[in-house]
Amino acid sequence: MTTDLPDQADVIITGAGPAGLAAAATLADLGVGQVVVLDRESEAGGVPRHCSHSPYGLREFRRLMNGPRYAKALVRRAISAGVAIHTGVNVTRLLPGPTLEVTSNAGPATLSARAVLLATGARETTRAERFIGGTKPQGVMSTGALQLILETGQKPFRRPVVLGTELVAFSAILSCRLAGIRPVAMVEPNGRVTARWPTALFPRMLGIPLTTNTSVSHVEGGEHVTGIHLSNGEKLQADGLIVTGRFQPDTPLLADSTIQRDPGTGGPEIDQYGRCTLAGYFAAGNLLRAVETAGWSWSEGRAIAHAIHAYLAGNLPPEMGERITLLGPILAHVPQRIAPALASRSFLGLSALQLRVGQPVDGTLSLLAEGKTVTSKHLRTGPERRILLPLPRYGTQPNVQLRVKGEP
């Protein structure tokens, strides 16, 4: 499907995952003429394609589906709406215009559009990024890499250790079980399991010992893993290590462009309409803030698609508006800016401010504008949990405060 790449389109979407495909279908439904989705993989659908087990599709299709079926449904939905999907296309540069430089088997090409939606998703943090010590044998990998290898019918190991307890770690365990791989243990550096109950009961049900307050100190082995050493001094006999979670937006294209990145999320800085700091560029999905569910990314894709539709009609306020300032132990927030709301279409774009904290907190979360509290709520949560506040529809000098209990 790569030989017929158009030179131009109304909207080009990079990334055929839940956010990108939902946005594409929505834009086509809204009557936008030429909507083109590019994906560098050989098949469209994004990460759910590789998750053969999790519950997908309830929000989107009112049916319980597995990942691959869900991905296919998203693709079918977009195509039937009139979207053109091109796989095997790597975007190599984001230029003003918006103009994209790409390469495919047909060679390099340049594409222009009236608007571009970036929906390139997120990836897990690597062993190197976590500074895990020891030797570098084969058999140490992310959940993503594991699932891709299992899809080829091959097995990288038989008895791995699973590091981390986010939802994706349980996805890794399920994938292992389906392939006949038996994880020997699950270890979590924090004091408790990151994923919500009842997922946390799952390893116990499968007889996989779970140790909290423990991390992997070093990997042992020459060509292959022969042991995993833990921070508590214990050595596990294992032949692999699955380094799970701690997702981060995959942003090499941003680094090479003039699009501003937010240090908190690692993704692009956006306003509530999903607009980036380079004219005509928008962003949605896990590129904004790793990591959310497929369903969430799908909703976000739809919301931003409505904003792009308004932008194409000249109906968005010209400025991105003010940056939201933060007070308290908040790691990241999306959006980072609030443009003046549109009187006539006050619910366009993202309706809520998404926040993340780095450690367990108990306190009060407030949103202020012009020094006055707009909304406030009690918050008791931990890392990697979804925290939402309604976005203000009026006012300037937006400020989010998280006051931890017992601290002034």
Partner: protein, 470 residues
Amino acid sequence: MPTTHPTDGAFDIAIIGAGVVGCALARAFAMDGARVVVLEKAHDILDGASKGNSAILHTGFDAPEGTLEAELIAAGHAEYLAIHDRLNLPLLKSGALVIAWTEEEEAALPSLMDQARANGVDDVEALDGAALRALEPGLGPQARAAFRVPREYLIDPWAAPLAYLTQAVRHGATVLRTCEVTNGHFTGTTWDLETSHGPVQANGVINAAGLYGDKVDQMLLGRSDFSIKPRKGQFVVYDKPAFDLASHILLPVPTKVTKGIVVCRTIWGNLLVGPTAEEQDSRNDASLDPSILEALKKRGEDILPALKDHNVTALYAGLRPATEEKRYRINKHPEQVITVGGIRSTGLSAALGIAQHVRALWDTRWKVPKPVWPRVPNIAETAPRDWQNPGHGGVICHCEMVTQREILAALNGPLPARSLAGLKRRTRVTMGRCQGYYCAGALAELTKDRLTQPMTQAEDRNPLPMTHDD
């Protein structure tokens, strides 16, 4: 690899070890008409000391004056410059700065410049603080003064030896991998080597076994003039945006033991900080130590403060084949063996010079064939890349932009990759920021049944008990 033994059953030269030195030796002898066999015990070439280094082509400006090492680094540097274009090898003309961070170090600069000139590196130039900052505005505030060594360059530490060995193969050399030499007998005129691939006969043997150089001497000769004292060097590699933080190789004022912590670009568009210098007994345990790597990272941030906002892409460690003395241990033995030992940390720079030197130590003259110049893929970030041309079959490694066509080429050809590590060294696959998150499946598929060390395992290697040790 099909073995094509010479018809009379003997090679002229057997080279033990396919590190950078072994590859350069194979090239020198094969191009001079010798029938060469290279015996490498690992799955692929460059699996020992040559696996992890800082990828600098040194001038030898700071080598001990008048030594063989100084001479051979200079000769190696000169030959690399003469041949790199014909082999399609990259050269990043970065130049180096030797930077003084304290008053004491500043006082040492003039004598280091004298040493450089004595080593024939007469183009060094002194820089005061202002001139230094003009060249490298990103340096930390403690940088006081420096001198510039214009001809210290960056190269591809894996493509270069691959090119040397490919050229040797094109001149008839035989390369046997997963081939460990287990014993040897000198008949008085020839060597009968026992290997894991069966007997190999050769008139002479060159021991280029790197970290096992003393062991191989012991095995063949019953003696060794030196013992290997492995010295580990750990490195931190930063993601591509850090490439722009410094253009020169940033060197500290060296101490007696080590050249010290270097910050420099890589040919692949990254920035690296390292190496440490840690003596150890193990010859194969290149373990990463997180606390030392954190300290290394901090040192990097002192040198270039902006590094603290950059992401780490990879960590690695290499083992240098140092000996009890700070000099090369190149010896010709009466049993028709030449030992090339103790090449320490300058093997990449000196390899071609070492090969010239060792070739000259060998008296035999063969019929010199017409030279053949194979071109290896240039995968430097600044070179034109395969993805920029049509028909590449799709990009497989998205971080390093490695195409299917490049991967298939590396799995075929005269010296095909035999392990994922070997494929990575030939193509850059999985070397990028995601470290295989996106491409592991495609690579498992493309390499299936092609590697002697496969990415995946067919059977349970050691059935393990389900309980764990305390």
